[in-house]
Symmetry: C2
Subunit: 462 residues, 2 copies
């Protein structure tokens, strides 16, 4: 894979194409766009270009394509697998200035936005319509980044991942063509589903510049439950039972005993040192919540719950969920001299107990603090390793790899929501078999010069 080194002539031409106010070779800008929130080693681009429109991006991309200059799209840098790191230098194409809401289609429960808008900022502006965009990866990720990565989060169990909440996108292809994929019609059986080909393609097939998102009415009534179980097996069997009950939880989260202990010790949060489920229900009528809590409580008691707290009061609900929503920050604060490696795998729900038991079995073999939080309702788990020096990092990575292999052996995936980026590319052949070659065929067909986010998703040289 050989790319053209950037020259002053390139910069001059790119300045013309992008506009002088939209380009920077300043060390600070290059540094800022060189890393994400993961453990992956950063690498600066030669130049940072700020997108301002699809047309301007199209000009830049077409130029880069004809000169074989690599382009790595950048949202806000909240990724966890190095997807936005410009490992071959070239151009970091930042969408961070494209933050407009273009149209609110309130009657259609849709909104069309520029790709750089943060989903939290979007939801703040949508509140007055009584609507919201449900996927929530935690950080204020950009919509474009969420779509490129198929981000998910705690409410996926009810509302789906990013891919389930998008209808249409504008995409700039490697050769500069600007296309529209999908439809504002919620139903469409018209030709190939290009929309979902670009969603989750991590900027390797095209650059998402605009998206029309599905919205849902802000739930009128919400309840929260925090349920402790004596052992992981019971907790996970309760998850399966809850999913089968028809209760349709809006969140169904698991925090292991170790993490609960840490949260309690670090912040005095009222949690028992037991595997704990955090559950949320959304309903159109307040009375439905009470019935839901009653059914869920009975079910959890049947499964061996040792403590149940539940509320339909909003303040109390937020207090109960505080520990879950801030578990990562609390973990970081509790380990001031360590870094945290967060890994992500997902399996079919029936394999969740086996996967969790396997992770438990690794614990005594590794002299590191290992904690778990997971979107249990989706079979998704994040294992967090606190590491200090390089040798501890290597121990954590070895463990990470063993867990990925276990997940794959259970019919699961190397990544449920963090994406492939740099960290998971090595597992793609094992996960996809010959379908991995088909992915390469598509990459070649749409980006023959491999300028779009090279060395992501694929391990092989092109």
């Amino acid at each position: 894979m050989t790319f053209t080194p950037i020259t002053p002539d390139h910069i001059a031409m790119l300045t013309q194409l992008a506009g002088a106010s939209n380009i920077s070779v300043a060390q600070a800008d290059r540094e800022l766009h060189s890393r994400d929130q993961s453990y992956h080693r950063g690498h600066p681009a030669d130049v940072v270009i700020f997108g301002e429109s699809a047309e301007q991006i199209s000009r830049v991309v077409a130029y880069a394509n004809s000169h074989r200059i690599p382009i790595t799209p950048w949202g806000v840098g909240t990724g966890l697998e190095g997807g936005a790191i410009p490992v071959h230098g070239g151009i970091s194409l930042s969408l961070e200035r494209m933050t407009s809401i273009i149209t609110v289609h309130a009657d259609d429960f849709q909104v069309t936005v520029q790709a750089g808008l943060g989903h939290k900022d979007l939801n703040q502006q949508l509140a007055k319509y009584g609507l919201f965009f449900p996927p929530d990866p935690g950080a204020n990720a950009s919509i474009g980044g969420m779509l490129a990565n198929n981000a998910a989060g705690i409410r996926t169990v009810k509302y789906g991942a990013s891919k389930d909440n998008v209808l249409k996108m504008q995409v700039v292809l490697a050769d500069g063509r600007i296309i529209e994929v999908g439809s504002r019609s919620v139903k469409q059986s018209s030709g190939y589903d290009l929309l979902h080909l670009f969603v989750g393609s991590e900027g390797t097939l095209g650059i998402i510049t605009q998206a029309t998102l599905k919205l849902v009415p802000i739930p009128q009534h919400m309840s929260a439950m925090v349920v402790a179980f004596s052992d992981v097996e019971s907790a996970v069997q309760a998850v399966v039972a809850l999913r089968g009950s028809g209760l349709d939880p809006a969140a169904l989260e698991f925090i292991d005993a170790e993490h609960c202990r840490l949260l309690r010790e670090a912040e005095g949060i009222e949690l028992l040192d037991y595997p704990t489920l955090f559950i949320e229900f959304h309903a159109g009528q307040a009375s439905w919540l009470g019935a839901g809590i009653e059914m869920a409580s009975e079910l959890c008691r049947d499964m061996g719950a040792v403590a149940i707290r539940a509320t339909t009061d909003n303040t109390e609900r937020l207090r109960l969920w505080h520990a879950r929503h801030h578990s990562y920050e609390i973990l970081v604060r509790a380990n001031p001299n360590k870094k945290i490696l967060v890994m992500d795998v997902a399996v079919p729900i029936s394999a969740y107990p086996t996967l969790i038991a396997y992770i438990e079995s690794l614990r005594p073999t590794v002299p590191l603090q290992i904690t778990m939080v997971g979107h249990a309702g989706d079979g998704n788990i994040h294992v967090e390793f606190a590491y200090g020096d390089e040798s501890e990092f290597e121990l954590a990575m070895a463990c990470d790899h063993q867990i990925v292999k276990k997940a794959l052996s259970l019919g699961g995936t190397a990544t449920g929501e963090h994406g492939v980026g740099m960290g998971k590319a090595q597992f793609m052949p094992a996960e996809h078999g010959e379908a991995y070659d088909v992915m390469k065929t598509l990459k070649h067909a749409l980006d023959p010069n491999n300028i779009l986010n090279p060395s992501k998703i694929f391990i092989d040289e092109f």
Copy 2:
């Protein structure tokens, strides 16, 4: 586009590859596989091959590919846009013998089936698990056909289309490779979404041989409502309001006044000659249904409903829905000397009143019986033309084309659920713009000899 005419040598070789009991050149078999349920002119294949396994299909496809013999996959022939018609002859590859349930993953709410299984047969066998596969296009379409076509139906408003209810597929590619796409993990952000590339590709990119489907618990409690409105505008505004209410209907169907009159006159069904909504709710608790009906009734009255009937009784519910479920057969019976052309478009819900008003405005200009039924909650409408001779057919087609163009101008799609097949291919460039060229690029990349279902989706010669 030139294909190799089938010779006795080809037949001899195909007989070896497929097995002697899986191949037929009999007139009756060729005739049976020459047409679907649409108005499209049939065309026989030279040979019908019955798939029995992915490996056997792989051998047949690889041979056909190396000899440039076209292959058109066949499910059970319930399509409505000619997708399964082998317009270039060659091989009709029937999946109708591949009807096994491979594994029921009850804890995961998943089932893995062979592609030829009918969705009604599947649901009958799943009933004992308390689970069902929600997409229901009416006819007992095969799972493979539903996926190839992204079929939908009346419960899509709550449960989604076929594409939303599949997790994993086995696909035979044009060169004979057998790949697995997707994952049994409900969450996956691992590389390109090949699953959704093959879903809806109508057999032009690969042949779906096996699928793992998402299932949902059979709802414990259901209610039905039939609501008549004085005018279409009010009915459709009620649809928008119902979607915004958080009531989450499981079906939200529209039948126009003309169709209601026909149903009443033909079968004595208790309907008023008014635009009518058919509504269904599913709930985990019986008490929730009553509250749902109450809220929905109030809302419909606010929107100008002139008559409301509602029930939570199962027998009464089926009776109320009879007219909707059998509207097509009743229409056919009511027009013994005519054929029925059913067309399919969809628009964003906010454009639904405009689209329906436009269709109403065409009515006086065409001397044909025009009726409408639609999945209103999805912005999807089917216009039915009763035609006799060729000149009436041409009038109907002209009308059909005007409606498609109107739907496209409203930000809609040429097909919400019937697929492109032969009838809608002409509208693909208008609907997709340059994205249509990207579809062609993908077709070239995955089926360079254009043997898979040629002349479907694409109008251009390859």
